[in-house]
């Protein structure tokens, strides 16, 4: 029952804002066909939910020298709203950290366990589980002045032409969103569904993985996984998508 209720209210929230004339932004969900939208809305059919379930199990599994599980320090209710307000600055940090990085930090600093590799089989389900707790909530980047220079860095990357095709993100996703590229509608590229189950990957993946696909798409060399550029871009993208409803785990082609 709940997935049906969620689907109805989600579609209403995204579309309703459209009708009111106030918010014309479109999530990638709205650019998909009805069959794929149905796949995302049905928790028993959405392949991303397999990873959310795996993440829920990992949440309670003690790890590391500290022999602590996530559940030992955090309640699941604590996680509500977290994914919707990342990337964020750590209390005494000098750079924002994304949700993936925050989980990896907890793993090494608090659990005292070996680090998670990026996009690894243990990290992605945890990311999916935490992100899922923010489903249905509006994207709400923190009102933190310290984020400003990093948001500006992300804005600059977005606007900069890159790669052999000499395209910037903005050219496709701002100027030409809604038009077709190779038979497919160009989305506005809001990070409303991450981590997503991308049909192309036949697996769940993070925003980083998707951004790397974009860079390959313009025939640029993708920044290494640990590069800060991805976090700066995400700070920009989450601000650009402020107020849009978080859908994780999304299904995308």
């Amino acid at each position: 029952m709940l997935p049906v209720v969620f689907a109805a209210s989600f579609a209403l929230a995204q579309g309703g804002a459209d009708r009111a004339g106030a918010d014309k932004r479109r999530s990638g969900y709205q650019d998909m066909g009805a069959a794929l939208q149905k796949m995302q809305d049905d928790d028993s059919a959405n392949p991303g939910m397999l990873f959310v379930q795996l993440g829920q199990q990992l949440w309670s599994k003690p790890a590391g020298a500290a022999n602590k599980a996530c559940a030992d320090c955090h309640s699941i209710a604590d996680m509500k709203g977290v994914a919707a307000r990342y990337p964020a600055m750590l209390k005494d940090g000098d750079k924002p950290i994304d949700l993936e990085g925050r989980i990896r930090l907890c793993r090494t600093a608090n659990q005292q366990a070996g680090p998670f590799a990026p996009e690894s089989r243990d990290l992605l389900p945890l990311l999916a589980f935490v992100a899922n707790q923010s489903r249905g909530m509006p994207i709400a980047p923190p009102d933190d002045a310290r984020l400003t220079p990093f948001r500006e860095q992300g804005t600059a990357i977005w606007a900069r032409r890159q790669g052999q095709l000499n395209l910037s993100c903005a050219i496709c996703h701002d100027d030409n969103a809604g038009k077709k590229l190779a038979g497919v509608t160009i989305p506005e590229a809001h990070p409303t569904g991450y981590p997503i189950y991308r049909l192309e990957w036949q697996a769940l993946g993070s925003l980083k993985r998707r951004l790397r696909n974009c860079l390959v798409g313009v025939r640029a060399e993708a920044y290494p996984y640990e590069a800060f550029e991805y976090v700066a871009l995400e700070v920009f993208l989450m601000d650009r998508a402020k107020g849009m409803i978080f859908e994780s785990p999304g299904v995308r082609p």
């Binding site: 998909m32 066909g33 009805a34 069959a35 794929l36 149905k38 796949m39 392949p47 590229l181 190779a182 038979g183 497919v184 160009i186 991308r198 049909l199 192309e200 990957w201 036949q202 790397r212 696909n213 974009c214 390959v216 798409g217 993708a222 082609p253």
Partner: protein
């Protein structure tokens, strides 16, 4: 299409599954024991071109199921999106009108394709315990093509429906390295 060597995996014993019989008919050996595998791998390089299913291969696979019986229109609904954003996971539903009683029920649903490397998609065995003859799943389609669903009833009748679908691809893909 480049000729890519298709090196069959060593596999356990047992009767060939439907999709493996089709592969065998197309000239591929779906099962090879370890010794033959090592000896043969260096010598046999099967061009991928012959492993492509064709409308003829689909017709042959259908004939294997239906035999000389007539295939009638109606009763079967094949639900597929006409335009598919990504061929990796295409939602498909087959529904067949049937009382699903002991005397008159759908006993099997077979789905075929005409352009994937082999013509089978799935074969499902049903019975009166299902109440409704409906199967939904997600399939892989390598190209725009025709999909055919055939329902076999307990009375020995065959009904079919087909759909032509267009498969597109997402624009920005993975670099496998």
């Amino acid at each position: 299409m480049k000729d890519i060597p298709v090196i069959p995996r060593a596999k356990p014993e047992g009767p060939l599954r439907p999709h493996e019989r089709s592969l065998a008919a197309l000239g591929m050996t779906p099962r090879v024991n370890r010794r033959a595998f090592i000896a043969g791998a260096l010598v046999s390089v099967l061009p991928l071109a012959t492993a492509r299913a064709t409308p003829e291969a689909m017709a042959a696979a259908i004939k294997e199921v239906v035999g000389d019986n007539a295939i009638r229109e109606g009763r079967v609904t094949l639900d597929l999106p006409p335009l598919i954003e990504n061929g990796n996971a295409v939602p498909l539903t087959v529904s067949v009108e049937s009382p699903m009683s002991e005397a008159d029920h759908v006993k099997a649903i077979h789905v075929f394709n005409e352009k994937n490397p082999q013509p089978h998609v799935f074969d499902a065995r049903l019975g009166p315990r299902n109440g409704k003859a409906v199967i939904a799943t997600r399939i892989k389609l390598g190209d725009s093509q025709k999909i055919v669903a055939i329902a076999e009833t307990s009375k020995g009748e065959f009904f079919s429906a087909s759909a032509d679908v267009i498969v597109t691809l997402a624009a920005c893909l993975e670099d496998l390295t």
